[in-house]
Subunit: 333 residues, 2 copies
């Protein structure tokens, strides 16, 4: 018998989540039953999309339940196996994050190989966020020659990969982020025009200065004023990949919609939302390209790592305060 | 020498245009010069998009100029020709609306054949508005089997064609219009669920009642509350063809954007604006299909006709008050 600490949803957040919305609990894990394995997590991921699952409403994934452990991407090692497909020491990915250890059917886990990378890269640049960047930029925004690309939350886990893929393909890239540290990282990864939105009064003017002829692609992670500025700066036939709108996830009143949406008509804009899970047919291409980019040193990334399961709620809350650079992770063992 | 009365832009409207923004003037027309013809207009079109050209700003068409005659679709007959390509009595379409008669190079005119229809149909169901409906529904919204289709301004020149094409292709159609007369017309053309938005407090609720499983296509002519309701009622992967947003054309403050735009992410919605002039490669298909639908009695339409050039500004203003049923026209001779 082993013990695992886990984070449960104690109450549904109203507005920005607080520590009170979460509770730490301990569970005893028996030996894994037939077909099961026991996994000790190395790292868990916190991602903005999890905020949506804290609302009790229909969505593309069911809501988290009060009193139950939260879920999310995690990478761990098998510590006991009762299934021939996995053995002790195997590296596995799962959606059983927010807990130190767990038992699960072997079939619910994805046996993984970090190919010489730190295993937590499978939760970031080489995992779901990287794949989100790849699918959103190449399929949804349908990046094509000559496009000028604007990326918001550009220093985040998804945005920083978007910027670098666009640069690798020869595009002019404008990235927006908040604060000097993030902006320095954007310059380091080759972003052509860096906008520190916290130091910018008029985002449209800043964007038009960076792209006097306008933008062709907008990779949307933020919403609100960023979306309005992108619409203002869009050239005819610009494509917007709507990946997320983190500025709105904790809105308690009526969020402000883009007041200039009418420009989408005259400019023939295309705004398209997407969920990465609908685009996993691109996974082989993504893994091939991303492996090559990492191996050649052309893809850089940053992690922000908090320590221990008790830190997970705080790590999650940091996402909405913009306190993470790159991928936000919690180290669990 | 003949005389033609024309309507000029006297001042740029602020908000809803008024009669004061226009002036009636007379011009003398000499005999047409070499390569020119003289045309007497039968009908001119007023269309919502013309409001955009009254602002002094860059757009997909240049702004109207103060003191000059307005422009727009018109159908007329050649009354004098100095070019071998056109002869007296020929029916021609042009952008020289807002005037009784004009001289123009023959090359600037489109020789037309009404194929037994009243000639003004070439300004409506069998012309630009019909083509707008066709391209928007079939290409931009990419109508496919089983789609539930929602159309706003459904009794208008474009909307009523959208409704009927969707019905002809076997779809469930929900149409929104204001007032009993328009709603009766929608029932007459086979719309399955008619929403009188002027009699509806909660457009989202009305839409969800008409389409309990949600909508797959939204043909957007109105903006504002209609767009929000469509987003609320959209099923995953719904496609929005953004044709116009008439509720916003006269907005003097900051228009209200769709506060629920974030749903575009989770539902993988696609919102795409378009301008019919970019889709004229579909014209042969449109003419083939529309001719067949009209010939078989499967396509109905209504015109609202005001009389004489002096009535043109009032006819234009009616568009924004919703006082037209079907295509708004001015008879000029």
């Amino acid at each position: 018998m082993t013990t695992s600490k886990e984070i449960r949803l104690k109450s549904r957040p109203v507005g920005l989540p607080t520590a009170d919305n979460f509770e730490l609990a301990s569970v005893d894990l028996p030996a894994p039953g037939p077909g099961e394995v026991q996994v000790r997590n190395l790292f868990m991921s916190v991602d903005p999309y999890m905020r949506g699952r804290m609302y009790d409403r229909p969505s593309y994934v069911p809501p988290f339940q009060i009193g139950q452990a939260l879920q999310g991407g995690a990478i761990g090692t098998v510590v006991a196996s009762n299934d021939p497909s996995l053995k002790e020491g195997d590296l596995v990915q799962s959606m059983f994050g927010w807990r130190e250890a767990f038992n699960a059917p072997a079939s619910a886990l994805q046996k993984s190989d970090a190919h010489g990378l730190p295993p937590q890269a499978l939760l970031g640049v080489a995992g779901m966020p990287g794949m989100t960047a790849y699918a959103g930029l190449l399929r949804i925004a349908a990046l094509k020659e000559g496009d000028v690309v604007f990326v918001s939350a550009a220093a985040g886990a998804v945005g920083s990969v978007v910027c670098q893929i666009a640069k690798l393909k020869g595009h002019t890239v404008i990235g927006s982020a908040g604060g000097a540290e993030k902006c320095a990282f954007l310059k380091e990864i080759g972003v052509d025009h860096v906008i520190d939105y916290k130091a910018t009064k008029d985002l449209t003017a800043a964007l038009m200065e960076a792209a006097p002829k306008g933008i062709d692609v907008y990779f949307e992670n933020v919403g609100g004023e960023h979306l309005e500025a992108a619409i203002n700066a869009a050239r005819p036939f610009a494509r917007f990949a709507l990946c997320g709108m983190i500025s709105q996830y904790n809105e308690t009143g009526e969020p402000k919609g883009p007041s200039n949406i009418i420009q989408a008509v005259g400019k023939s804009l295309r705004l398209e939302g997407f969920i990465v899970s609908n685009h996993y047919d691109m996974l082989p291409d993504f893994l091939r390209d991303m492996s090559a980019w990492i191996a050649s040193g052309q893809m850089k990334w940053k992690d922000t790592v908090d320590e221990g399961i008790a830190a997970a709620p705080g790590a999650f809350i940091k996402l909405f305060k913009g306190e993470n650079l790159g991928k936000m992770l919690v180290r669990l063992s």
